[in-house]
Amino acid sequence: MGKFQLFPVQASTLAPEVDHLLYFLLAVTVFFTVLIFGAIFYFAIKYRRRSENELPHVQHTGYTLEILWSVIPFGITMVMFTWGASIFFTASKPPNNAIQIYAVGKQWMWKLEHLEGQREINELHIPVNTPVRLTMASEDVIHSFFVPAFRTKQDVVPGRYSTTWFTATKPGKYHLFCAEYCGTNHSGMIGWVYVMEPMDYQNWLSGGAAEGSMAENGKKLFEQLACNNCHKEDNSGRGPNLVGVFGKQVQLAGGGTVKADEAYFRESILQPQAKIVSGFEPVMPTFQGLVTEEQLVQLVEYVKSLGPKPGAGPVDNGQKPAPKKSSNAGSTPANR
């Protein structure tokens, strides 16, 4: 891949949109650069000092020019803002039919995991013309998942899930870079995204690891860690039944609701007291330090796989979930 180029290839649905805004910005830049440079050159030559005692006559102008060259640039920048914001909006909302893939970043590699169980290191195979929603976690420091050909980038922050999405439009092989400085081998935390025709992707998937799908592995963990002791599917356990919970609004103890998405599941495993489901006691132990990010995403996928199949839902870039409105019984000195 040593070909010299001056402009990156467009390989996603987002890329042309970003590039169009770029062209507009370039046009404005060239226009004003030529205008200013031109004016300076012209004035410098035309009004060069011709005699030692030359004294320019000072005109007192009004504010018309000032207003003009404030308002017009402001208008142009507002176009830039609106255009850029709308692209950003699109880039933040994956379509409901996106396929789900997980990525875990750690110093200094990317671990990718497909629902079907295929794992990759520093490589990501995806089908062309299919929206892909990538949910990402970090095991240590902040990383950033950057695919220049797609024009996408998203920081991966430890302690939360980050999400990005893209629809690849051109089969081929594209650079993947870590774009947030993360230590010694930051520039080695790179890889490739392989965009394949649908048939080739299916072949690749089925020829892949026989280790079981993410959900199957998640189920094994669910049993190993004894989650099924409390989370029973017949509602007889001390914990909420998890069947069909994904994507629903969950009623919390003390009022308020939260959407049961991947971040909620992850938080419930690591900080169980943060959001207690209404009608249940705060007795779940924490698994902080007992599960890796990779195991977490498998558990999450297992819970997602229980019950009706939900939509992928909008991107949640690690927003801190809405603060609780009131306390749990018994955990504060006060009763409201």
Partner: protein
């Protein structure tokens, strides 16, 4: 315009044209410095606000582990010290040299008491295993999954009261210098600016504490049964 005299006095340094101008400049300078201090502490208050809004219940429990009686008494001591500081400035205005020294010493004493009580409180926290970052950290009444959040409260507690105490220590140092200078008769009714300006600093450090006390010690206390 008039040339300035080649020799300068305490009240009229060579860069200034009048004594009033110099006093004015010194006062403005100190107010500006206090604005920088507001921004400095402000960063910590912002951190406090964010984490308290995320973990309100844990913060309330952690706050209740602080001794509000001692905190309130200490607040009173600091307020008293601001009063004696005001009296020192007043003595300066009136040119009462002995009184300046006495009130500065009293201010110093009250400041010292505050710091001593603070040291006691910190030691209490150490005994109760409320020092964040230590393996033995444990806050009663908070479940294991939330102990980390409790550590956040105490991190903020130590950082903010620590920084405040550091400013008090600097204030104590300034007071010591002023006491020595006052005893040597450096201040008079026509020049007591350093006392005035140190007073501004001392009051500011006091005001920071007035905010710290309720925010750290009194979270949800009104809800205690």
């Amino acid at each position: 315009m008039a040339d300035h005299a080649p020799t300068e006095t305490l009240a009229l340094r060579v860069q200034f044209d009048t004594e009033a101008q110099q006093k004015d400049a010194a006062t403005l300078g100190m107010w500006l410095f206090l604005v920088t201090e507001i921004m400095f502490f402000g960063g910590m208050f912002a951190v406090y606000t964010i984490y308290r809004s995320w973990y309100p219940d844990v913060f309330a429990i952690a706050s209740s582990s602080l001794n509000q009686i001692i905190g309130a008494l200490n607040t009173g001591v600091l307020l008293l010290s601001s009063f004696t500081m005001v009296m020192a400035v007043r003595a300066g205005q009136l040119g009462q040299r002995k009184a300046i020294v006495i009130f500065l010493i009293l201010t110093l004493l009250f400041g010292g008491i505050f710091l001593g009580v603070k040291a006691y409180e910190w030691n209490q926290k150490f005994e109760e295993h409320h020092i964040p970052g230590q393996a033995a950290f444990h806050l009663d009444g908070v479940l294991p999954g939330d102990q980390g959040h409790a550590q956040l409260f105490f991190s903020i507690y130590f950082a903010m009261t620590g920084l405040h105490a550091l400013h008090m220590v600097i204030g104590v140092g300034i007071l010591l210098i002023l006491i020595v200078q006052a005893r040597k008769g450096r201040f008079s009714a026509s020049y007591y600016t350093p006392v005035d300006v140190a007073g501004l600093y001392w009051h500011f450090v006091d005001i920071i504490w007035i905010f710290l006390f309720p925010l750290l010690y009194l979270i949800d206390r009104h809800l205690v049964k």
